[in-house]
């Protein structure tokens, strides 16, 4: 294939909306959406604050097959309110994961794939978003006992706040170069800690610390994949076939505490220092 033909064949995943992403990952004809937009299960809290709600609340739940394996996909729409999670969207994800775990207890091996484009809690629904995210965490840990839970952060919103903790609970994580994964958004860190600590307008700096490539190089994610539908699909399938890992990343407290004990905190940190500290056990 010539370079231009290869380029024409490439289909961006990042440019797809949540529903198209879920469809693109599932086997042809197997996509079935639950609580679709026509059922109009919307946020009960946004309208009274002068914010226009969306008829799927920015979360798509779809069941189907991925390379023949039964999966439920929860895809967050980054274009609606920054992918923030309120009561309804949060309950859709938590509820879907709870039902997937229940499936497994009944002998149905449902896996889960989370497509994460989110700033975390939707502040207009603050405490109900936070509560839903705690329930998502609980449901991931429960389901993970039976089947892998795969997190995909493609970009361009990235994955922040309480949902970055959800990403940290996943069995496997896949990112692109466009992705960012971190607890706190850059503006909030700059606000809380000052511009010398974190310059939210310095994009190369932010990607160098929290971007997909760095997260892969430091072992905080499992796959680093080009922004291409076919390649992302292939890698998600591989991860699903790996099954439940012997040890989840979030279950390695001692390893991380030992690494942190070796860190020189007298100097400010650089991306290379994190790579040096965290590399080693990576196959």
């Amino acid at each position: 294939m010539t370079d231009s033909a290869a380029l024409l064949n490439k289909h961006s995943f990042v440019e797809l909306g949540a529903r198209q992403r879920a469809k693109a990952l599932l086997d042809n004809g197997s996509f079935r959406e639950l609580l679709d937009p026509f059922q109009r299960i919307m946020s009960p809290w946004l309208l009274r604050q002068g914010v226009v709600p969306q008829s799927d609340d920015g979360v798509v739940i779809a069941k189907g097959l991925l390379d023949g394996l039964p999966v439920v996909i929860a895809a967050i729409e980054g274009a609606f309110q920054g992918g923030s999670l309120g009561e309804v969207g949060g309950a859709k994800i938590a509820g879907a994961l709870e039902l997937a775990a229940e499936d497994n207890r009944k002998g149905i091996p449902t896996r889960a794939v989370l497509l994460l484009e989110t700033g975390g809690v939707r502040l207009q629904e603050a405490n109900l978003g936070l509560a839903a995210i705690a329930e998502i965490h609980s449901a991931i840990v429960d389901l993970r006992q039976y089947q892998p839970v795969i997190g995909v952060v493609a970009g361009s919103v990235g994955c922040f706040g309480g949902m970055s903790i959800a990403a940290g609970l996943c069995s496997y994580l896949l990112v692109t170069q466009e992705a960012r994964l971190g607890l706190n958004g850059p503006q909030v860190i700059e606000q809380e800690a000052g511009i010398d600590e974190y310059d939210s307008r310095d994009r190369p700096f932010i990607w160098s610390l929290t971007g997909g490539e760095q997260r892969f190089a430091t072992g905080l994610v499992d796959r680093y994949v080009a922004d291409d539908v076919a390649q992302i699909r292939e890698h998600v399938s591989q991860l699903l076939h790996l099954g439940v890992p012997a040890q989840h990343r979030s279950g390695q407290a001692e390893v991380f505490l030992q690494r942190l004990a070796r860190l020189d905190t007298e100097v400010q940190i650089e991306p290379a220092a994190v790579r040096q500290l965290y590399q080693g056990e990576r196959p």
């Binding site: 639950l34 609980s138 609970l169 974190y198 905080l220 407290a253 905190t265």
Partner: protein, 267 residues
């Protein structure tokens, strides 16, 4: 006057009595095993460590060491009680102003450290440890997700300084493009946005609220009330499901139940 809260430390000291705190953990964690009636319990508190090697986590914030340290302390309890018929209860004493905001924190994956803590608390609950969150101060955002929010039952002391929220008022106003006054006006009519504990209770997320006389430095009567309430919570959890379903059902949280019912019907 300290710039950080001492409530978590004081309640830990009151509840742990003369018990020796566990060693081998970050200085910002206070962990001790005690008995409450017949029940073995492990108390866990995040406290300020003004000398922390991580300067952005010196005022009681939940940072890298705190997240992974909590995970370790909870994992030890899970391992120790693996074959025990009665697993010790875990009591998270919650007084956490926020997660740590800093360059080192993001670079080294604070999200992963907090996931470590949430993971361990959730696994302990699923394994049959009663997990109780005792809110004596702030329970903010990511810090609360890592320390307390995976509990079977949440108990909050009734006090203006006890609050649960996703973001402080000033930052929340900025992010949602409002003034603090507008935010406060909205919070008065939108319960999930409010900062007070009664509005939070109306969401159905708390099991109990308790009044005490001296929240900053509990007296004997305060301690007795809280111990009694903790015992009741532990007893109730014994025969209850190990999930978080007891938090559903409040009218201010009706959509959370509706969504689950519809998902089940269409599953």
């Amino acid at each position: 006057m300290n710039s950080y809260s001492l409530r978590g430390l004081r309640w830990f000291e009151a509840l742990s009595g003369n018990a020796t705190p566990l060693e081998g953990l970050p200085a910002s964690l206070k962990v001790a095993d005690v008995t409450l009636g017949e029940q073995n319990v492990r108390l866990l508190a995040v406290v300020a460590d003004p000398d922390s090697r991580f300067p952005r986590a010196r005022n009681g914030e939940v940072g890298l060491l705190e997240g992974w340290g909590l995970a370790k302390a909870v994992d030890e309890a899970i391992d120790a009680d693996r074959d025990a018929p009665h697993k010790r209860a875990l009591i998270a004493i919650v007084d956490v102003p926020s997660q740590a905001y800093g360059r080192r924190e993001e670079a080294l994956g604070i999200h992963q450290a907090l996931a470590g803590a949430a993971d361990s608390y959730a696994r302990a609950r699923l394994a049959g440890h009663p997990v109780i969150g005792l809110l004596v101060g702030k329970a903010m955002s990511g810090a609360f997700l890592a320390h307390g929010y995976q509990a079977n039952r949440l108990i909050a002391l009734r006090d203006p300084g006890v609050m649960v929220h996703a973001m402080g008022k000033a930052s929340a106003a900025r992010v949602t493009l409002r003034s603090v006054e507008e935010l406060e006006a909205l919070a008065a009519s939108v319960p999930p946005m409010a900062y007070d504990i009664d509005s939070f209770a109306s969401l159905g997320l708390l099991w109990e609220t308790l009044s005490v006389e001296q929240i900053e430095q509990p007296n004997a009567a305060d301690l007795a009330r809280v111990r009694d309430c903790l015992q009741q919570a532990i007893n109730e959890v014994a025969d209850a499901p190990r999930d978080l379903s007891s938090r559903l059902g409040a009218t201010h949280r009706a959509a959370s139940s509706t969504v689950r019912q519809l998902l089940r019907a269409q599953w």
